[in-house]
């Protein structure tokens, strides 16, 4: 019904976003860029994945028995892959013996993308809370100082724990923490502080235990936090990036990204960052955000390319959906062409299978 708005209407764009006008292209559509993506692999809860018994049910799947004729199905949550996770089996309504006899099938339990690794079949949701993995770099916020531990919000399903024994006190070797250290915990990390850490272990109930036993990790000083969906963070060798523009970027695997001026991690009493530094931080932050809202994977290359593209624009402009789309589209095209150049068959990358990547009218559609 509604036609695409003219230029003078762009100011009301934020209102249009909440409206149900899906025709207006304020967000990047990967299909426009020629990315071939199979619609069959997108499933919603209850969709049948397979009847074949050779697959192992992974995350986001459930097994349901189908009673012949009645159409009634009973369900068993997909067995999870972690050894210590026996949650799925023990309180479900049907037992294993019945499954062997009756016909059962695998169905999706979350909305997302079907993913097969060898025989393991799982469904990866587009957006969800962070499910930790050992060794991941995360950024979290201290919520509570408890006895000998901090409780940290790391965007996970449960609060994460940072033990006093898991931190490296400034200027000290690793040693047993005394009662005095315990009393001075707030001097290290107080409520509301941001901290970068590594996942040390994942408990049986899914909660994370973090540690900062490395000089890289610890309290984050001046800077800003951007929250993005965890699935957008690309796992890479390092998640700490010192960008050439004098900004340090920490891309936490839990979807919390921190941008701050580069010497910023050292001391509480450091002088305030200069306005020029702060505007660079704001620009990097805006770049991370605009990539995230357009579903571009976040890693050092994509953020740097966005920074290069957005360098000329005023920072305030980067919060406008049309400008965000322009930058994200250029970055996406660069990433796609780089991908074709590397031409890794089946290995990593973005899982593209098409040589015909960029459609002709892609750029003119924007400007």
């Amino acid at each position: 019904m509604q036609s695409a708005p003219d230029d003078e209407e762009l100011d009301s764009l934020s209102i249009r976003l909440v409206g149900l006008d899906e025709n207006y292209p304020v967000r990047l559509n990967w299909n426009d860029l020629g990315v071939q993506f199979s619609k069959q692999s997108i499933v919603v809860p209850g969709d049948r994945l397979t009847r074949s018994r050779e697959f192992i049910p992974g995350h986001g799947t459930l097994r349901r028995t189908v009673e012949a004729g009645s159409g009634n199905a009973s369900f068993a949550a997909g067995r999870r892959q972690k050894q210590n996770d026996d949650n799925a089996e023990d309180n479900d309504e049907d037992d294993e013996d019945e499954d062997e006899e009756g016909a059962w099938e695998l169905a999706a339990s979350v909305a997302g993308r079907q993913h097969v690794v060898n025989k393991l079949l799982c469904v990866l949701p587009g957006r969800s809370r962070y499910a930790g993995e050992i060794g991941d770099v995360v950024v979290g916020r201290v919520q509570e100082v408890a006895s000998r531990r901090w409780r940290i919000d790391a965007n996970a399903r449960l609060q994460a724990t940072l033990h006093l024994s898991g931190v490296l006190l400034p200027g000290e070797d690793l040693r047993r923490k005394s009662e005095e250290d315990e009393r001075a915990m707030r001097a290290v990390l107080a409520e509301g502080d941001l901290v970068s850490a590594e996942v040390q272990s994942v408990q049986a109930d899914g909660s994370l235990v973090l540690h900062t036993r490395n000089a890289r990790y610890g309290r984050l000083g001046q800077g800003t936090l951007v929250r993005v969906p965890p699935a957008l963070i690309k796992r890479s060798k390092t998640h700490f990036h010192s960008l050439p523009c004098g900004v340090t970027l920490v891309l936490g695997m839990n979807g919390y990204c921190w941008c701050g001026p580069t010497p910023g991690q050292s001391d509480v009493r450091e002088p305030l960052a200069s306005p020029a530094d702060r505007s660079e931080v704001a620009r990097v932050r805006a770049c991370v955000r605009l990539l995230a809202v357009n579903h571009v994977p976040l890693y050092d290359t994509s953020v740097m390319q966005a920074y290069e593209v957005a360098r000329e624009s005023p920072v305030a402009l980067l919060s406008r959906p049309d400008e965000q789309l322009r930058v994200a589209r250029l970055v996406a095209e660069q990433l796609l062409t780089a991908e074709v150049g590397e031409a890794q068959p089946g290995g990593g990358g973005f899982g593209l299978h098409s040589g015909d990547l960029i459609s002709g009218g892609a750029l003119s559609a924007v400007h």
């Binding site: 919603v44 209850g46 993308r113 969800s128 449960l158 909660s207 699935a231 809202v293 579903h295 973005f350």
Partner: protein, 241 residues
């Protein structure tokens, strides 16, 4: 009853078995873990999901170790006819919230979310009948957006009975006429919730239930398409990230 069904058409020009236009948009609220804006014709609702997050120890019990909490709010501006301001402890709203909560209890895989709390807030933005079923549909979409594991796609529909014909998806005019009505929420073939709006003859129950469960399947199918279209944009580039 002539004004409800005249020459086989309803007051808004629909056929008896015709659902109003369904439009859904997911992920409208970036601050929430999941959100959905759903329109059933002129009924318009916003559902947001916060969590699964750490539950307070006081809310947990050995039997119930995943807390599912639904808050339902219908502000006075939502409806043309009823402009009453309803407070937090309002019984009608609390009852609606409870019905949604019960239906969800049968579909969310709670055993995967131990010691967690999932908070769901429903805001009625515009009210034109069938709010309960619209709310259940919106919550179901918001949960999918949040990546919460469920047994299937929960869909709901309100049907009424007039002149021997079941009317699908009652609007507020039809609802205020006091028709016998039935709200049904289904997952696949399984009925998770059924509530009767006005006095319903026992002989009418079976045809209404059959009609409602067929309609639920259609609603689930159509909303599933919307979810897939939304996910296509989000998942396309995440393949290896």
């Amino acid at each position: 009853m002539t004004d409800i069904l005249l020459n086989g058409r309803r007051v808004d020009g629909r056929r008896p078995n015709e659902h109003r236009l369904l439009r859904a948009q997911l992920g409208t609220q970036p601050q929430a873990d999941g959100s959905a804006l759903l329109e059933h014709g002129n009924s318009r609702l916003l559902a947001t999901v916060h969590g699964p997050a750490q539950a307070r120890a006081a809310d947990l019990s050995p039997e119930e170790d995943c807390v599912l909490r639904v808050l339902y709010n219908k502000p006075p501006f939502a409806s043309m006819t009823e402009r009453r301001r309803r407070g937090r402890g309002d019984r009608k709203q609390d009852e609606t919230a409870l019905l949604i909560e019960e239906a969800l209890g049968g579909v969310v895989l709670k055993q995967l979310y131990r010691r967690s709390q999932i908070e769901i807030r429903v805001q009625v933005l515009q009210s034109d009948g069938s709010e309960l079923s619209a709310a259940i549909n919106a919550v179901s979409l918001a949960l999918m957006d949040a990546g919460v594991a469920m047994r299937g796609h929960l869909a709901a529909v309100t049907v009424g009975y007039c002149d021997q014909a079941p009317l699908v998806d009652l609007n507020s005019y039809e609802q205020s006429a006091g028709l016998p009505s039935l709200t049904v929420a289904c997952v696949g073939q399984r009925v998770l919730h059924a509530s009767v709006g006005a006095r319903l003859h026992s002989q009418q129950l079976d045809p209404l239930l059959a009609c409602a469960s067929r309609a639920c399947a259609c609603v689930a199918n159509q909303l599933g398409q919307d979810v897939k279209a939304h996910l296509l944009a989000a998942c396309c580039f995440q393949s290896a990230a």
